[in-house]
Amino acid sequence: MVDPDETFDADELAAAERLDAQIDDVLRGRVSPDAGPEVLLLASAVRTDPPSALAGRVDAAHERTMRRRWRPFRYVAAAMGYLFFSQGFGNIVWGNWVADGIGEDFSPHLTREGGLALMAVGVAVASGALVRRMAPVSVVAGVPLAIAFGIAGIGEIGVFAAGAVLHITQGLVGLALGATYWTYRYADDRRDTSGGHDEEGA
């Protein structure tokens, strides 16, 4: 056993450095006439190629992990997409009722175009629930708008109950969308890092 604080014999130290150089040579494929048979045998015995099937296995394991982590995001993205889409559809169909509720003049043209835009945003947000690589699109399209609606919804409390409930729900689901995306992309999955080691410090 080598003690980190141990002082080493100069001859042994020199021999260790020579061996280190020989190992370097052997590992780089250079001929090292001084290298002993044990060095050559070790290099040969240990330096085998990974089995060809291992790459597929690693890929499958990674894919399973990412799918598992994506699952909560899918549900939230689907809910968020539904909320935006249904709001847009509702504005087109019941725009007059919404305008009455918040005490504003009804503008059919603006309501129809705004409704279509909201339906498009809903589709964009829901796309992340169907295709994993669309998840960033869901976040960019959905989170800022949902939070803005959520803040606006606070102002509708006591004015238009349906609008307040819808917008505050959108704000909360928007926060959940951001949180589940972060978990999907960045949070450690304890099932993947069992043992709780600080692997960064390695």
Binding site: F8, A16, G36
Partner: protein
């Protein structure tokens, strides 16, 4: 294969596989643990900080932990108890050469059990992961000189055992 995991695998699979294989008794166990290493690595890739060390040292650190976890799960078995098993398919030459090399490899890997755990670790990191002495020192939290000495003493013990055999 996904781009990130594909690149990570392409760059580090041989070193991870060789290190893990040198520390575990069979190809099957080494495959399990190597697969786990890359899954763990992908889970913490965003936290990798180049200023703290090389990517090679980082992923070998993960391999060390995964290997330790393997033995913890297998506890109380001795890490060196099982004779290493090798397979001819890993060699690209003919069956006769492969058989001879398999036998030599099995013998050498079997002799690793005569080393202390830290010597075996240092030898696996040097020959399997192909880390330099300073990198081994960083991974094992010892000085480069101490790492070099561990390898030297480990190889010396192997030489003695092989000479006796």
């Amino acid at each position: 294969m996904a781009v990130e995991v594909g690149a990570l695998y392409r760059d580090h699979a041989p070193r991870v596989w060789r290190y893990v294989r040198a520390r575990l008794p069979s190809d099957a166990d080494a495959e399990d643990v190597t697969s786990e290493v890359f899954t763990r690595a992908m889970g913490s890739l965003h936290r990798f900080d180049l200023s703290k060390g090389t990517e090679a040292a980082w992923i070998v650190g993960i391999a060390r932990h995964a290997t330790a976890d393997f033995w913890r799960r297998r506890s109380p078995e001795d890490p060196s108890a099982d004779p290493p098993e090798t397979t001819s398919e890993r060699w690209s030459d003919g069956p006769a050469d492969a058989a001879i090399r398999d036998e030599s490899a099995r013998t050498v890997l079997g002799h690793l059990s005569t080393l202390s755990d830290r010597e075996r670790e240092a030898v696996a990191l040097r020959f399997g992961a192909e880390l330099s002495s300073p990198e081994i020192g960083a991974v094992m939290d010892i000085s480069p000189t101490a790492a070099r000495m561990l390898v030297h003493r480990g190889v010396g013990k192997l030489r003695e055992v092989m000479d006796r055999g």
